[in-house]
């Protein structure tokens, strides 16, 4: 592992810190959904924290990720500010996306987070194109695309495996197999195996225990190093169990698709406990307290932040600042004077 890649998040304590941050972020977010402060609900990441933490600990700050509808874990683990992230979820002008994206589109381009995505399987090709741009620019940056088990049935993702393999691109495909795509089990949805799909394109594909952050980190590190060294794409299937609902609407409208004892068994192996076992006496409690403070600040900041001004509803519709007609046929001036200058331009490539 080169020195530059040994980032601060890869120690046992930091892995645990990331996981705890994600866990408590989700728990607070679920409360805010219940309180009506987060509109539209969320897809909680609880139970899968070791995957985001382990994979992102193998990355440099300038590496890139694409995420999913269940994206909070990835976004936080890649280093987005939890305070601005929560402001985004609560639809505030101070949010990562100025309140324009919400849970399913949270992004932080400055940290290589090319966004959560509302369409299953859509991030893979985007990640692979970014990896290609970086490679062609002579950079050794690596891109990671996270997706669920449901995504391996999406044509565009399978097409993407071919492009990545054909052109030996520095991309790591991380499939989070949490057993379900909403209510459909992997057995009902996937003929053959998940790793076989990537392997068919000649992509090295392994399965790791996605509840063990150390194991995930080790596997991801190997894959990321291979990509950085020009060895092409890799595929990692990380198994875990989704502790909570597919989406918070399930909290109200209970749909029956998982037996109670299955859920209990799934929850019995908590990835946070697995990781905490590696910590010295007292560390867990100290980290937990730090995380609590961060989240208290995040909630306070989010709730105190102003909502966006409706006059700017169409700001950023076009990166060039083009204004077209509104719903009654008028062309309004941009409410946000910065609308032309805000786009992120990656320095390395241009």
């Amino acid at each position: 592992m080169s020195e530059r890649t040994t980032v601060h998040r890869s120690g046992d304590e930091e892995l645990y810190r990331t996981m705890r941050l994600v866990r408590r972020f989700e728990e607070r977010a679920i409360e805010l959904v219940g309180a009506g402060e987060i509109v539209g609900g969320i897809h909680p990441y609880i139970g899968q924290e070791a995957i985001a933490a382990g994979v992102c600990a193998a990355l440099r700050d300038d590496d890139v990720i694409t995420s999913t509808h269940r994206g909070h874990g990835h976004v936080l683990a890649k280093g987005a500010d939890p305070v601005r992230m929560l402001a985004e979820l609560t639809g505030r002008a101070t949010g990562l996306n100025q309140g324009r994206g919400g849970s399913m589109h949270a992004a932080d381009f400055g940290r290589g987070i090319y966004g959560a995505n509302g369409i299953v399987g859509a991030g893979g090709a985007i990640a692979t194109g970014a990896a290609w741009a970086h490679r062609n620019a002579g950079s050794d940056r690596v891109t990671v695309s996270f997706f669920g088990d449901g995504a391996v049935n999406q044509g565009v993702l399978l097409e993407t495996f071919n492009l990545a393999a054909l052109w030996r691109l520095p991309v790591l495909f991380v499939c989070e197999n949490n057993g379900y795509a909403t209510t459909l089990t992997v057995a009902q949805a996937v003929a053959g195996s998940i790793t076989a799909r990537a392997a068919a394109f000649g992509i090295p594909a392994v399965t790791v225990d996605g509840t063990d952050a150390r194991a995930v980190l080790a596997a991801a590190t190997e894959a990321v190093e291979r990509g950085r060294a020009g060895g092409g794409p890799s595929f990692l299937e990380c198994t875990a169990y989704r502790f909570d609902a597919h989406h918070t609407w399930e909290h109200k409208a209970r749909v029956r698709y998982r037996a109670d004892d299955e859920v209990a068994a799934g929850r019995s192996r908590d990835p946070l406990d697995v990781q905490a076992a590696h910590l010295a006496e007292g560390v867990r409690a100290a980290v937990d307290a730090q995380v609590e403070a961060v989240l208290a600040e995040a909630v306070a900041f989010a709730l105190a932040s102003p909502p966006p001004d409706p006059a700017g509803a169409l700001d950023h519709l076009y990166a060039t600042g083009l204004r077209t007609r509104n719903g009654i046929g008028l062309v309004e001036p941009a409410a946000d004077p910065l609308h032309q200058a805000a786009a992120h331009v990656p320095a390395e490539v241009r």
């Binding site: 987060i38 509109v39 539209g40 609900g41 985004e88 639809g91 505030r92 996306n97 309140g99 324009r100 994206g101 919400g102 849970s103 399913m104 589109h105 995505n117 509302g118 369409i119 299953v120 399987g121 449901g150 995504a151 049935n153 999406q154 044509g155 795509a181 909403t182 209510t183 459909l184 009902q188 949805a189 996937v190 749909v255 029956r256 698709y257 909502p307 966006p308 001004d309 409706p310 006059a311 700017g312 509803a313 169409l314 519709l317 076009y318 077209t324 007609r325 509104n326 719903g327 009654i328 046929g329």
Partner: protein, 324 residues
């Protein structure tokens, strides 16, 4: 008379058609447990041969339905998100729609594509809030947008029985609408026949989907100043041009309210035909989403991008006041 919700009407229509015709089958994601409350109970009753929980392979299962239809079945596909119709646009517009003409009439593709909860569901943001009915009308796929429980029932029936591909949008804003209906009198609603929900003499308001309720509210609010006729096309394609002409030729004044993008949308088409063929006495107006709209997440912004009742009210007043 029984109280029927729009959502229950959809549920009932599908159940009735499956009972009546055993070539009707339904495919979609999470329809076994009926996450959208339309396919409720069907898996238990008809089994996995007729009620198929699909993997997340929208393109494949959409053309799979085309193949099943060519072989004699009448598949119904439930899509969880309106923009999934973008993903299968090739399969609907370039395959299913074209089979009949391209084969010289040898083939027919009776598939119903339906989206329970189209348009904005607050907080679902940019990729889950589209209302792409205009795209299907443009390519020529039969496009239905029922506004009431009776029409939800009747148009769903009609869609399933039709021998061509049909897209049915059930706007999120309509799912909760309730009405007192005579269950025994429910039946298919013909394509291309609009419905006047409220008669009026001064201004014709054409409203699509959930905006029919908004239009009725506005009409009521203005009742003492302006006599508003509320026309619901029910099927956008084919469109009831004759029915609309009857109304507009009487009132001479037209406002359209439509929750889809302004540019090349259904509202524009309606204004165009009115300008070409009807006796407008003053310039018509439309209230729509903006050009190229992407719905922002925050509630304030999301609402600001959808057509609003007060905009409709203003437009009706302006059209009414405009001099001939």
């Amino acid at each position: 008379m029984a109280r029927l919700s729009y959502l229950k009407a959809l549920q009932r229509a599908l159940a009735d058609e499956m009972a009546r015709d055993d070539t009707v089958c339904v495919l979609g994601e999470d329809i076994g447990v009926a996450v959208n409350n339309v396919t409720t109970g069907l898996l238990a009753r008809y089994g996995p041969q007729r009620v198929v929980d699909t993997p997340l392979s929208e393109q494949a299962f959409t053309s799979f339905a085309t193949g099943a239809a060519l072989a004699g079945l009448r598949p119904v596909i439930e899509f969880q998100i309106p923009s999934l119709l973008f993903l299968v646009f090739e399969q609907i517009a370039n395959q299913a729609h074209k089979f009949s003409l391209m084969t010289g009439g040898q083939a027919r593709v009776p598939v119903t594509y339906f989206v329970p909860g189209s348009g904005s569901r607050s907080g679902w943001a940019g990729q889950h809030s589209d209302h792409p009915y205009g795209l299907f009308a443009h390519v020529g796929v039969k496009t239905l947008v029922p506004a009431t429980p009776e029409d939800a029932y009747g148009l769903f029936l009609t869609a399933i029985r039709d021998d061509d591909p049909v897209v049915l949008f059930a706007p999120a804003g309509s799912l909760g609408v309730r009405a007192d209906v005579d269950l025994a009198a429910l039946g298919p609603v013909p394509l291309g026949v609009g419905r006047v929900h409220r008669a009026g003499t001064d201004v014709t308001v054409v409203a699509v989907g959930h905006l029919v309720q908004a239009a009725l509210d506005v009409a009521e609010q203005l009742a003492d100043q302006i006599s508003v006729e509320v026309f619901d096309p029910r099927t956008l394609y084919p469109f009831d041009w004759a029915g609309l002409a009857e109304s507009v030729n009487r009132t001479g004044r037209l406002v359209v309210v439509d929750d889809s993008n302004r540019m090349c949308g259904i509202a524009g088409e309606i204004l165009a035909v009115a300008a070409e063929e009807m006796r407008l006495t003053v310039p018509p107006k439309r209230v729509t989403r903006p050009d190229g709209a992407v719905l922002p997440f925050a509630r304030e912004l999301d609402l600001a991008v959808q057509p609003q009742a007060d905009q409709l009210l203003t437009a009706v007043q302006e059209v009414f006041k405009a001099s001939r």
